[in-house]
Point group: C2
Chain length 300, copies 2
DNA sequence: ACCACGCCATCACAATTTCCGAAGACGCGA
DNA sequence: TCGCGTCTTCGGAAATTGTGATGGCGTGGT
């Protein structure tokens, strides 16, 4: 028994004629006849009395008709519900962060996602470039903010902005900072970032260029931990410009540093995933950049 | 969308593998794959995430699954209900009577029908042979008791018993009944049956044989009316033997009359109608006669 | 690092089902 | 009695569905 049997059953019951039911269902009358016959055989009951005037429901058919309607309605409900879910994103998306929410414009992103996909649960998970990348690779994250050049063909990378770096210094060490010469600074205590952080590369470049090695004091792989260490006076460190504005405990040294790109990454194979598309769409709107074109052509 | 799509959907959702779902549904894995693909296309949503380990429901699929189950259950309810109605007779059957209920053994017939077909509504409609036959012909009755020979090829006739006839006379006329000679009796007042009643034929035969004509007094086409007329002293009449046993107002004259057959008739073209079959089966049980064999061979 | 395994998607072709148009059977009404 | 409208049946065509083989892909064991 299939749905078309029931559809035909109901149509014939309502039209009381095979011919009219056939017209209503845009098919031929023999087809309708066969449907009814097959249905009657599988059900083992007679649904209609055949009269010269048409088809009249038997008491059994009368009794089965509302159930058939119910089944059709239930099937229709599936389709209806699916239509409602058509372009709806439901479930959750996990986005890895690598720095503070304001700089990443998270409230705007969250607002855009919430507005367009009210049933999408958005999880913003703090981390760092170093932890975000593998998390995205293994699927623990759907996408993530990272800094620095990403050289991974399995990743799609979306450039957001250049992030200027500065050397941050605690106020408590101001007395010991007599010059902004890198070699001098290297002798002071430093808070290291972890090697998988892009700031680490910037730091290496800086000291290598001046042929010196900083004093290692502490390694922090979370940016806010790093910032707190600097503010607490543990040592100098490389941070994004602006984190110490109007800060009583730390300030920026006027040393030119290269900037690193802030980027948004996700698995390339998911670039056509509606979830990713939606997040990217909102993200690009927030950052004022063009969303990635329909990337089907480079999917192979 | 058809039911098999939903069946496959549910099976895959439960088995989490196309392969296993295919085994469960006794078909091949590509077929299952096609079902899911087609369903996803008609619904416009993605139901499963394809993983190397199998199929995992998406949140959308998760949401649609119970509705799909509901639709399948509704369809299954149709079949279930139909199975229950399989050999059940529902609706009503109209049986025409031509004499009193006890003689027709109606309580036994009613009991048998009620026991085997509790949902069958049985209507016993009083009438006479003359009114019952056309009523059966035009479908106002499904079957009827009649007396006398029936010569109608469109009718199936089932002989039940021979019905002995007697001349009934009112006690109030006893004084005027000096002999049982028919010619003498003919001079007394008579209550006629209508010409379409088999008793009428018996009456005609009786008087024709004795070359006399009875005095017509009143015509009654209902047997109980006839009986009442006789008891009220209106005149003599031909009735079934036994109706006046222990009756204070009328009695039977010892005049030999031919008997007429009591029969049960229905439209021959309905002889395979389950309703007719059921009634005949019960009727024959009550009357202790063999039910008509599967009459398919003489249906043409 | 490699290979074997299990998973699903796709393909071409076969089997089945469904569908159609025509013809037949039947009862009704003119 | 004939015409009309109904449903049923029939043969062949069309569409759908199912099958087995093949390939891509990721995983886990060696």
């Amino acid at each position: 028994m299939e749905l078309y049997h029931l559809r035909t059953f109901v149509a014939v019951a309502e039209e009381k004629h095979l011919t009219r039911a056939a017209e209503r269902l845009f098919t031929s009358q023999p087809a309708i006849s066969a449907h009814i016959k097959a249905l009657e055989e599988t059900l083992g009951v007679t649904l209609f009395d055949r009269t010269p005037k048409g088809m009249r429901l038997t008491p059994v058919g009368e009794e089965l008709l509302p159930r058939a309607r119910q089944a059709l309605a239930a099937a229709s409900a599936v389709m209806q519900h699916a239509k409602g879910l058509q372009d709806e994103l439901i479930g959750s998306v996990r986005i890895g962060l690598n720095t503070d929410a304001r700089f990443l414009r998270l409230t705007a992103l969250q607002a855009g996602l919430a507005e367009h996909y009210p049933r999408l649960e958005v999880a913003m998970l703090t981390g760092s470039t170093g932890t975000n990348l593998p998390a995205v690779r293994v699927g623990k994250l759907d996408a993530a903010f990272v800094t620095g050049e990403i050289d991974d063909p399995s990743m799609s990378v979306c450039f957001l902005c250049d992030e200027p770096l500065v050397i941050g210094a605690p106020v408590s060490l101001r007395d010991q900072i007599i010059s902004t010469d890198v070699a001098d600074l290297a002798r002071l205590p430093w808070v290291y970032t972890s090697p998988d952080c892009s700031h680490f590369a910037a730091m290496r470049a800086l000291f290598d260029a001046h042929c010196c090695e900083p004093t290692r004091t502490l390694i922090a792989n979370q940016e806010d931990a790093l910032v707190e260490m600097i503010r607490a006076g543990v040592g100098l460190g490389i941070v994004r410009a602006g984190v110490f504005s109007n800060d009583d405990h730390a300030y920026e040294l006027p040393v030119a540093l290269p900037s690193v790109p802030l980027q948004f990454v996700y698995l390339r194979k998911r670039e056509n995933d509606p979830l990713i598309r939606a997040v990217m769409h909102q993200l690009c709107a927030v950052w004022g950049i063009a969303p990635p074109a329909d990337a089907a052509r480079e999917a192979g």
